[in-house]
């Protein structure tokens, strides 16, 4: 890696403001994503990371504008590819704290292939999905988490596709940390994100984050009536029980569904393959010998 020159970092207890960028979010008034943003600020404050050690990676969509609102390094990539990009960032420098953010279209439609491999690969990043069950930035089309019959601009007679179940999909794909949050409960959400950050592997937090502009069904009012905390007697090490909870439509449980630390993160496994502080010249000379 090239030589770096750094300005000194503040030596004091961080505040939420340290993680706020100067840019004002471009979201509609009443957007659920504000709650998620506040939860992220709070979780970063709790962890107290230096802003230069954080990378926020996203795809494309309303919620994917997120990196611009965090005072940190950021990578606003292309639609659906946040997981691969974050994988590259984390492998290149495992000391970085990598937060991946985006919407349901980004995660489950165009990025669906990466989602399952991201879960099984288990790179140590925290993935917060702002799931509003609609396409917002393109102004109201059906999404992979939209319910059957949901009327949108692209489904004038109602959505025909079965919705995808993010938590169950993550669980069967090999995810090691699976949780659901709700943007109207930012304190609980911040706690979940902190746990996700502390989890030594891919932490998936699917967050209901209502779109007040294009989704008139899955509103804050709708969620208020169906959201419940994960039952106290649920054992988060029990994957089958977690899948069962994830399959329920009502209530919609929020909290930690599943966590295991049995499987080492991908980046740790890759690091163990590496020779540290090798002399490149010696290695190259040895490789040249193979062909001599």
């Amino acid at each position: 890696m090239p030589e770096t020159s750094s300005a000194p970092t503040l030596e004091r207890v961080p505040t939420v403001d340290d993680y706020k960028s100067s840019a004002k979010p471009t979201w509609c008034p009443g957007c659920g994503d504000f709650g998620v943003l506040n939860a992220v600020y709070n979780s970063l404050k709790v962890k107290g990371y230096n802003t230069e050690d954080i990378v926020v990676v996203s795809g494309i969509g309303c919620s994917s504008r997120f990196p611009f609102f965090v005072s940190a390094y950021g990578f606003h990539g292309v639609h659906g590819r946040a997981i691969p990009i974050s994988t590259g960032v984390k492998l290149a420098n495992p000391d970085l704290k990598v937060l991946v953010v985006g919407g349901d279209g980004d995660a489950f439609a165009i990025g669906g292939g990466h989602f399952i491999h991201g879960m099984r690969r288990n790179v140590d990043v925290t993935y917060v999905i702002m799931d509003n069950e609609i396409y917002g930035l393109t102004k109201g089309q059906t999404s992979p988490t939209s319910n059957v019959g949901f009327i949108t601009k692209s489904t004038p007679k109602g959505s025909v596709d079965q919705p995808l179940n993010p938590l169950a999909l993550a669980l069967i794909s090999g995810a090691t940390f699976v949780a659901r949050g709700y943007s109207a409960k930012p304190k609980d959400l911040a706690e979940l994100i902190v746990r996700g950050i502390e989890h030594p592997g891919m932490a998936l937090i699917d967050v209901y984050s209502p779109c007040p502009t294009f989704n008139e069904i899955n509103t804050f009012k709708f969620f208020r009536d169906v959201i419940k905390n994960v039952p106290e007697d649920h054992d988060p090490s029990d994957r089958a029980a977690a899948i069962e909870l994830a399959m329920l439509d009502n209530p919609l449980y929020c909290g930690l569904f599943y966590q295991t630390t049995e499987s080492e993160s991908f980046d740790r496994r890759m690091q163990r393959l590496q020779t540290k502080d090798a002399d490149p010249r010696q290695v190259l000379d040895r490789l040249f010998e193979q062909f001599s």
Partner: protein, 603 residues
């Protein structure tokens, strides 16, 4: 005329061992001192289907697959059918009676070699067939026994218990030839003094070594012919250098991982072939827009679509040059030989890092699988280039951190940046004469920024106004002119005074050189120019060459005259084109005829 080279072709069904025999002969000949160059054409299938492995050896430098075959060694009837028309009159046809019926006689000498019988009955070592055959081939060329045995010793280093029976197999093969073909003068060449520190390797291996020498520390890829062995080689070796190789779920993910690793400060690459490169094109634009360096190796194969996975074509130039929606500044390089794969890989990384731009290295099937004996490149000559990082401390103190001064130079005063989405704490995309802006990498305090594919101004703030888009488009494209001015030296061959010039690229340069050599021998003249940088067009190389020629041909292995048309757009329609598009490289005679003006060339 004195015979200068020998071509032996092993032909038959894949899986029958012809490649291992061919590789052994190649290594042995190189160890003795011969210049060696192979041509390998496997079928796309794992079992069944015809493969060809050709070894050409000479006392002189070799540039391409040879012409007529001197010795055809067929492993089955199909190998005979496919290869017999390429055997030169008076050549030698070799077969094992255990494999096939006696072939028809013709204007060639037929020798039945009892490889199977020797291995199975006499040595009771059926798996030793390949080594018996190797001994026979080596004896035909008059290769001394000592280096052959050394080669086997190295081959069986980890299984020393297998060595004695393999040595016996080798000796049985040699003895049989010495007894049955006592006069072998016509197949034997006098080897030249060996190349000091000779290496025997193929193009993909040379390319991988170059990438490592250049400082590549991250590769993400997806298996695809004929690029997979780059990923495999790197997977075996990059971790030793503290790097990572990831086999991703697809080529889109590969490209995403590469850009993520690049953003975090690593020199990063992917290796693929046409179908995979097609999938990467969207993020090629992201690389150019966010100005994140990366190297994409496209080992071209015959397309379109799945095409012919193991066949040769230089058909991806248009995709490399024009690929991507919108205007995507990028650099395209192509190596001309196995050794040049090493150097071009280094150039690719150096230019990518220096100019913070995507670089496409157009490998091709011929070079990917061709083995050559080459002089070991000196690592002392490798000078890796790193991207320029912003000096945060001085940038903060001297007031240029937000790039206002630069922006004003270009007639633009940014508005209140503090409220703009994405405004970095330094001018990440500061305007400079070369278009290159000092950057930062995560971990550097005070230099945080958001990489984005959205249009942005010098500070990285999102902007969609006409002035910003025009100004930043110009900035990104300025890098092309700066890079073109520093283009690596092209490969030149032939007579500077020649009226006829041939411009070519990639592995086709080898065939052009051999054509010009023959033309010179017959009293004619021609000169070749093979630029290493195909895009942008380095005018100081191409323009100068074209202007001093009466006739210029552009030789490439594709149907649509891709490079010729790129050059015609700049230098005019008088440029002639000579193409080949059957999935095989140029035959030297086709080029000789084209240079002589005997075949129709169309603009």
């Amino acid at each position: 005329m004195e015979k200068r080279d020998l071509v032996i072709r092993f032909g038959g069904e894949t899986g029958g061992g012809l490649q291992s025999v061919g590789q052994l002969v190649t290594k042995a000949a190189a160890a003795v001192g011969f210049r060696v160059l192979t041509f390998y054409s496997p079928p796309a299938e794992i079992k069944g289907g015809q493969a060809v492995f050709e070894v050409r050896l000479s006392s002189n430098a070799l540039y391409a697959r040879g012409g007529a075959v001197d010795i055809l060694w067929t492993f089955d009837e199909e190998g005979y059918d496919a290869g017999i028309r390429d055997l030169r009159p008076g050549g030698l046809l070799i077969y094992d009676p255990a494999d096939m019926e006696a072939p028809r006689s013709g204007n060639y000498r037929v020798v039945a070699v009892p490889v199977t019988e020797i291995a199975k009955t006499r040595l009771r070592f059926e798996r030793g067939r390949n080594v018996v055959a190797f001994g026979m081939a080596a004896a035909l060329f008059g290769l001394p026994k000592e280096p052959l045995a050394d080669l086997l010793k190295r081959q069986f280093k980890r299984h020393a218990e297998l060595l004695p029976q393999n040595i016996a197999a080798l000796e049985a093969g040699i003895d049989w030839i010495e007894e049955h073909i006592p006069d072998r003068r016509q197949y034997a060449l006098e080897p030249p003094p060996p190349i000091p520190g000779v290496m025997v390797l193929n193009g993909n291996q040379a390319l991988s070594l170059g990438a490592l020498a250049a400082g590549c520390r991250f590769l993400a890829g997806y298996p695809i012919t004929p690029a997979s062995d780059i990923m495999e080689f790197m997977a075996a070796n990059l971790p030793q250098l503290g790097g990572n190789v990831v086999q991703a779920e697809d080529e889109i993910a590969s490209m995403g991982m590469v850009l993520g690793a690049s953003y975090a400060g690593k020199k990063a690459m992917t290796s693929t072939s046409g179908p995979g490169f097609s999938l990467m094109i969207e993020m090629l634009g992201l690389s150019a827009m966010a100005e994140l360096p990366c190297v994409i190796v496209d080992a071209q194969r015959a397309g379109p679509s799945t095409g012919m996975p193991t066949r040769h074509e230089q058909g991806d130039l248009n995709l490399a040059v024009y690929g991507g929606h919108g205007e995507v500044p990028k650099l395209v390089f192509a190596p001309t030989s196995v050794l040049d794969c090493f150097h071009t890989a280094i150039d690719s990384f150096n230019f990518a890092e220096k100019y913070q731009i995507p670089v496409i290295l157009l490998q091709d099937t011929v070079l990917a699988v061709r083995t050559e004996s080459v002089e070991r490149p000196s690592l002392d000559d490798v000078q890796p280039v790193d991207r320029v990082l912003v000096d945060v401390l001085s940038a903060h103190t001297n007031g240029s951190v937000n790039g206002h001064a630069d922006a004003l130079d270009h007639g633009h005063a940014p508005a209140d940046e503090t409220t703009q989405e994405g405004a970095a704490r330094f001018a990440r995309y500061a305007s400079t004469p070369s278009g290159v802006s000092p950057t930062s990498i995560p971990g550097m305090a005070g230099a945080e920024y958001v990489a984005t594919g959205l249009e942005h101004n010098e500070q990285g703030a999102l902007r969609y106004d006409p002035a910003t888009h025009a100004r930043m488009t110009e900035k990104r494209h300025r890098k092309l002119a700066a890079a073109a001015a520093e283009a690596p030296e092209p490969l030149r061959f032939g007579d500077e005074d020649a009226e006829v010039g041939v411009i070519t690229w990639g592995s086709s340069a080898g065939a052009v050189i051999e054509a010009i050599q023959l033309i010179h021998e017959q009293g004619g003249k021609a000169e070749m120019l093979a630029p290493k940088m195909l895009w942008p067009v380095p005018d100081h190389q191409l323009g100068e060459f074209i202007r001093r020629k009466k006739r210029v041909l552009v030789a490439e292995v594709n149907y649509s005259q891709q490079y010729a048309n790129i050059l015609r757009a700049r230098y005019g329609t008088q440029l002639e084109s000579v193409t080949s598009y059957g999935g095989v490289p140029f035959r030297v005679q086709q080029l000789i005829d084209a240079i002589a003006g005997k075949v129709a060339v169309h603009a």
